[in-house]
Amino acid sequence: MKAFNESQLLETRRHFFTRGKNLLGGAALASLIGDGFAQQALASASGRTPGPQFPPKAKRVIYLHMVGGPSQMDLFDYKPEMMKWYDKDLPDSVRQGQRLTTMTSGQTRFPIAPSKYKFEQRGKCGMWMNADLLPNLGNVADDICWMRSLHTEAINHEPAICAMQTGNQITGRPCLGSWASYGLGSSNENLPTFVVLVATPTNREQEQSISARLWSSGYLPGEHAGVSFRSSGDPILYINNPPGVPDSIRKRTIEGLNALNEINYKTVGDPETQTRIHQYEMAFRMQASVPELTDLSKETEATWNLYGDEAKKPGTFANTVLMARRLTERGVRFVQIYHNNWDNHSNVAGRLPSQCRDVDRPIYGLINDLKSRGMFEDTLIIWGGEFGRTIYSQGGLTKENYGRDHHPRCFTMWMEGGGTKGGTIYGETDDFSYNIVNDPIHISDFHATVLKLLGFDFDRFSYKYQGLDGKLTGINPAKVIRELIA
């Protein structure tokens, strides 16, 4: 009797009320909005998906994170004035005492390194871009919504990527993909809602560590964590049954397993037990769906012409982008791709070309592929790193080569499709690409804008945790940048 009483106490008030709220809230939402989304949300595995607050413009997201921090003034933030400043010191009036990383704070000089690259204007929007390294991307300049004035607080990779992904430099909050998964729910019960793909760059001189911390669901239910697919061998480890266990037997054991978990859930009421029940069901269904997903043999010549032959090689950026198209086509809400080695502390001239070659054609291919499949309008593509790079050279400087340190005060990102306004060029930095002079976009503003495209008001889209309303933008003041939205 004692054990029984104790187990009854294990269901907390919070669990009880959370369940009740979702039940009523979900039903109310379905009757209010009345579109497929809310009904679908109700039908989701856990019944814990709130659904969008207003009709979303983007139904799925492909987020291309360039790990390391691409050099904005060598790619998108054209600063011709800097030619006159070659090897002159960065004025204190520009630096304004800003902290530097310890990789350059000991330098006796901060000599200006003008970009060695030729720039040209692309598209009707006239976006100034690197003329040599991004020839294909330039062809779709008018589809892209350019943001040249992102800024963040973080100056080192791990906290900066974490901030970019979760709105907070400290590990443990849900990432953007988890919020999207939680908010919108699944539209294919045979695949995860949120998938992560880590691409292998051609050059691997200066990679940053990338780990599951970055795609954690934080305080959101565990089923919204990103599922990382491996690029070689089995896409998911141990997805295949051991020898001597056919599907029918695996199915039988999962039924028994879930029945026992269900008994446990009814007694204790921990929502994470339900997460596990859904995960086993999902894993079983994925045994059938993943081989079909990863089989590229039915892709036509047109696909390879778009993405290039590199896409046939598992793990390349081109391959992961093609996989992203296949995943989103099958209903996956959010695909997060990481492409590493953008951390060009030295040898920009030696590294930047292969970095750009890795991504230029595949992204162009993806955009055109989505257009031809009618997915362009409601698929949001995001491109960007975790911060920018300094105008001054780290280490040796010549006209032909230089290095650049981390720079959080301004950097360029872009979005495309999914309700963004193509051909917009938003934000402006000073002649040194050091400080923002017009229309700054804090990363929380960027998050608020992305949530808006997904159908959520960033300030009201929250999850109760430890007595707080947890939000992607946290307690940062944030705003939706209306000019970026079509």
Binding site: P242, L260, N264
Partner: protein
């Protein structure tokens, strides 16, 4: 669940249960529960496990090759004195129990 080490561990737990003195289904079940859950099984849980066990036994009795393949997973060798079909069926019972939320995270 499908990791060879995990499957091998399940087989060894099953083997220990079956080799313990005077084993029968009830005792084996509780032997496994006491090690995996640190508690005896509840009455409501037993029929679920026995039902799985029956289906697994029926299957592996009719497919002895599958039973032998399953109990060969891992580096340790299966005890030759045990009936392969029985050991395979109990291996999957252990695999089931070892994957319970209560075992993995509580």
């Amino acid at each position: 669940m499908n990791d060879p080490q995990f499957v091998e561990a399940a087989r060894n737990l099953a083997q220990k249960a079956l080799l313990s003195p005077g084993s029968n289904d009830e005792k084996s079940m509780n032997f496994i529960a006491s090690r995996a859950l640190c508690r005896p099984l509840k009455d409501i849980e037993k029929p679920v496990i026995l039902a799985s066990l029956k289906d697994l036994r029926d299957f592996y009795n009719s497919k002895v090759d599958d039973a032998k393949a399953l109990i060969a997973v891992g580096e340790s060798k299966a005890d030759a004195s045990l009936n392969p079909a029985t050991l395979a069926a109990w291996t999957m019972v252990c695999n089931q129990i070892m994957n319970l939320d209560e075992v993995l995270s509580k």
